[in-house]
Symmetry: C2
Subunit: 533 residues, 2 copies
């Protein structure tokens, strides 16, 4: 590092400015070469930066409350256009900072997903039905979900530099579409990518006429200041996607002062393969499971971390096939220098709890980039039940633990020992021999997962209104909300606003007698309708 | 107390049973005579009782998951009928245990409100639209809000023995309608009333065919066990209505393990009277405000505790009128022996922070029942801003603090210093002279309250789909939820259940291709519709 290098600016109140009194500096790495990207250095922001963003965000919240939904929708669409116009630079930067393949992953999958989300959010903002306007004409009481009155802090993860980026991803789109400013924390593993996105966001915000503090971004801060930030009275809410230790600290801080916080923390996404399915298509399921674990070098929130089988015909063959595939696989590039070390720690923890290593298990020192050997472990159902907490440790990489239960009832006990997860999957045969087991297993799993799958792998999260990217604690902080799936994801960033006897001209347009768009769905005197009052 | 008296039974797993190893015993009081109701003694339950209820509730949750909505709806309606059939006994018991007037309050207002809520919940359960079924046919992903998989603990307050009772009130109705069993904690101030309700609930549950553990009730437990209860893995969620100290302890315990908890804790319900309104109808507003404070002896969550004025014409007259009315008022009967002492503590706290006593201020020792003198205090805006926390202490009785700001800008500062409240009210004149002040004040208040009122008093909560009985922390734990207002109140007791590629016959009926009722509103491929897929 060179203390004389000019630090990259942060985006505060509509302007790119130098951090005031930063407490440190950092740079990213190029994961596929392990080289430091030392040509760009970024500030670790102190409280003065955060305070300036809070003030500007609070001010912007007041300004956004008066904007017509059309302005917000136009911003989101203009931003999506701007991202597409800058696709080359974005893909190049993201590839460099994350090691994720430029094509198809970044250019053809993740970037279109990101712009699609922004445009879906624009439609939801324009339509307004997500806010559930409800009118009781006899009592003259009217209510609607409105913005929070302060900015939303979005802390994005490292594994989706576009689609979950704090300044461009699903939480950003939902928070803005619900009428709130955003303060984004860029992930320090891809700061330049985030800065490019923020530049596009700022241009679009200016073009659409959003207030200056509507979109702001910093790169990093100290842990204690992060905790202070989520408790600040000026903040509306926070959204975090990342590891459980950091998430739990943020949750404790926010909960203590009653600040809404949405967390997507960790998940081992159990996959149950019932005996009939194993007999019917064991090899195909093994190949599919392996592919699902390998995708993105295993750095997906919905990667299967635990596979559960019942001892019997086909189990040895299935595991041997998985072992063969895993041992033969090339280690993928991981996102940061820390990633291989974190995976090693988790694998050691699994082994200490009794898991037997079948393939991989070590940092891939020979690889050119940051990497860990694709890893497979095995443990008995009995061992699993003796320490289910340790054996559900999430490894954020290509690591899968196969649990072999000695009976159907032990398999159900394993399911009951599962923590809250984003997903849970059951593979059953098509002939019906697994149906009784399915019917017993599914309700147990249903209560423990956000998304229940049949006969496919959970990895990947479709951008669909019907998606739930959520689940019971500790996968997230609350089981009724989803981080993906517009319009439902917008509700997180709202407060229920009731108006009792408020004079007609003072009501928000969604609650006035006249339906403002002609197509806004409202609950009027018990009937869902698009008519005027 | 007589240690040989047989304790009243608790309702566990479909049967009235003696508490196992209770840790104590208690009895209620007759507030209007201050006499002990020692003929009935109730147990303080130990962990074995709570554990038995958790097990039975968990089992009942599995059973309820398979019930058609019609069964749940029929239970709620049968229960409403049973309450009406037992109205005489219920009104007598509640009047005796609470001192609230038998008529009109208990018989003609609160009892009908309670049965109305139960019937509204039945309609919501039967209709199902509250659960927002969402179907993406191209991706074959479907989602719906489903039950939590465990019982909901409802801790009811002391001030509504029917309408907010843990075994009959709004939270009970919402939790059951959303498909969950309920474990109710009766409020120890009206245990016999609660036992009568629970008897009606049990009969109705049996008649409708709910599983035995669907409705359970205990009377009291030790604080530590209550905290353990809200963290138990078998529990689905908890709902609490009561004071802030107890609520905050429950919240901290539940938050630490990610268990959903809904709290309605405290609120001073600020009423702003703008200068024009004071000139135009000051006397009428004073009378209305006084009536609002006196209602139910001031024991309403939505009682105005703070009135904010701007110094100027009419202020002295308004305060003098309030003072006259307050001094002349007869103290109402309070709910418990502790109530007058708690109010005295709060009034002392307000005085210590600089409030001047204008009327009342002491326990009404002469009254036949538990009572505190109707009380009025006054403080300057400057003083208020010096210690806004102490001066927003909630007194659960007829106590009102008038804050006189010396300018419009100080009045806005007072508004900005307000904590989260259930309600906030602005009285403005009809001629328009207050409009500019309203436009500045309303957004500040909007961000701090659940229900914003114009030109009326906040006391009372209409049972309406458009109601929000909620608000930002610390009024409640989350600003997007309401405790009153069906169907929205049901969502609190749900988890978002997504089904990805799940075989058609395994889907809940609300997500199958065919619309199960023909009128269930579903979001299918972006369109809200009642059609089949």
């Amino acid at each position: 590092m060179n203390a004389n290098t000019v630090l990259q600016p942060i985006l505060v109140d509509g302007r790119w400015v130098q951090a005031e009194a930063p407490t440190g500096r950092f740079h990213a790495f190029e994961p596929s070469t392990r080289e430091a990207l030392a040509d760009r250095e970024f500030p670790v922001s102190g409280w003065r930066d955060l305070e300036a963003m809070l003030d500007a965000g609070k001010h912007a919240a007041a300004g956004m409350a008066h904007l017509p939904p059309e302005t917000i929708a136009r911003f989101l669409e203009t931003y999506a256009d701007a991202i597409e116009a800058r696709a080359d630079a974005l893909v190049e930067a993201a590839h460099r900072e994350t090691g994720l393949p430029a094509e198809p992953r970044l250019r053809n999958v993740e970037l279109p997903r990101t712009t699609h989300q922004l445009r879906q959010a624009a439609s939801a903002a324009r339509d307004g039905s997500w806010s559930r306007p409800t009118i009781d004409t006899a009592a003259n009481i009217r209510s609607v979900h409105g913005p929070l009155g302060g900015p939303v802090l979005v802390l994005g993860p490292n594994n989706f530099p576009f689609a979950f980026n704090g300044i461009a991803g699903g939480d950003f789109a939902a928070a803005i579409a619900a009428g709130n400013p955003v303060i984004a924390k860029a992930h320090p593993a891809h700061p330049h990518t985030s800065a490019l996105l923020a530049g596009a966001a700022l241009d679009a915000a200016n073009a659409a006429g959003l207030p200056p503090g509507a979109v702001q971004m910093f790169f990093r801060t100290d842990g204690e200041l992060g905790l202070r930030l989520v408790t600040d009275p000026r903040l509306g809410a926070a959204a975090f996607t990342g590891g459980r230790p950091a998430g739990m600290k943020l949750k404790a801080a926010a909960d203590a002062v009653g600040k809404p916080i949405y967390l997507e923390m960790s998940s081992v996404n159990p996959v149950f393969v019932l005996p009939g399915a194993l007999r019917e298509r064991g090899d195909a399921i093994a190949a599919e499971l392996h592919g699902s674990c390998a995708m993105g070098a295993g750095q997906f929130c919905t990667k299967p971390g635990v596979t559960v089988l019942r001892a019997g015909d086909g189990v040895d063959r299935f595991i041997a096939e998985l072992q063969r595939l895993t041992a033969a696989a090339t280690p993928g590039v991981l996102l940061s220098p820390q990633a291989p070390r974190d995976i090693a720690t988790t694998v050691a923890r699994l082994q200490a709890a009794g898991a037997e290593l079948l393939a991989g298990g070590a940092i891939a020192e020979d690889a050119q980039g940051f990497a860990f050997q694709p890893t497979l472990l095995r443990v008995s159902g009995e061992r699993f039940l003796a320490d289910p907490e340790a054996l559900q440790s999430e490894a954020f990489g290509h690591v899968n633990l196969v649990v072999v239960a000695d009976s159907c009832s032990q398999l159900l006990q394993v399911a009951e020992a599962m923590e809250g997860n984003l997903t849970g999957t059951i593979h059953s045969d098509t002939g019906g021999s697994d149906d009784a087991a399915y019917d017993t297993l599914a309700p147990i799993l249903r209560a423990r997962v956000g998304r229940l799958l049949n006969d496919k792998m959970p990895t990947g999260v479709a951008v669909s209104a019907a998606m739930n990217h959520g689940g019971p604690f500790p996968a997230t902080g609350h089981p009724a909300f989803t981080a993906v799936g517009i319009p439902a994801s917008l509700v997180r960033f709202s407060a229920l606003h009731c108006y009792d006897n408020v004079r007609p001209h003072r009501l928000p347009s969604s609650l006035q007698d006249r339906n403002p768009t002609g197509s806004l769905l409202r609950l009027i005197d018990g009937e869902w309708t698009t008519r005027d009052v």
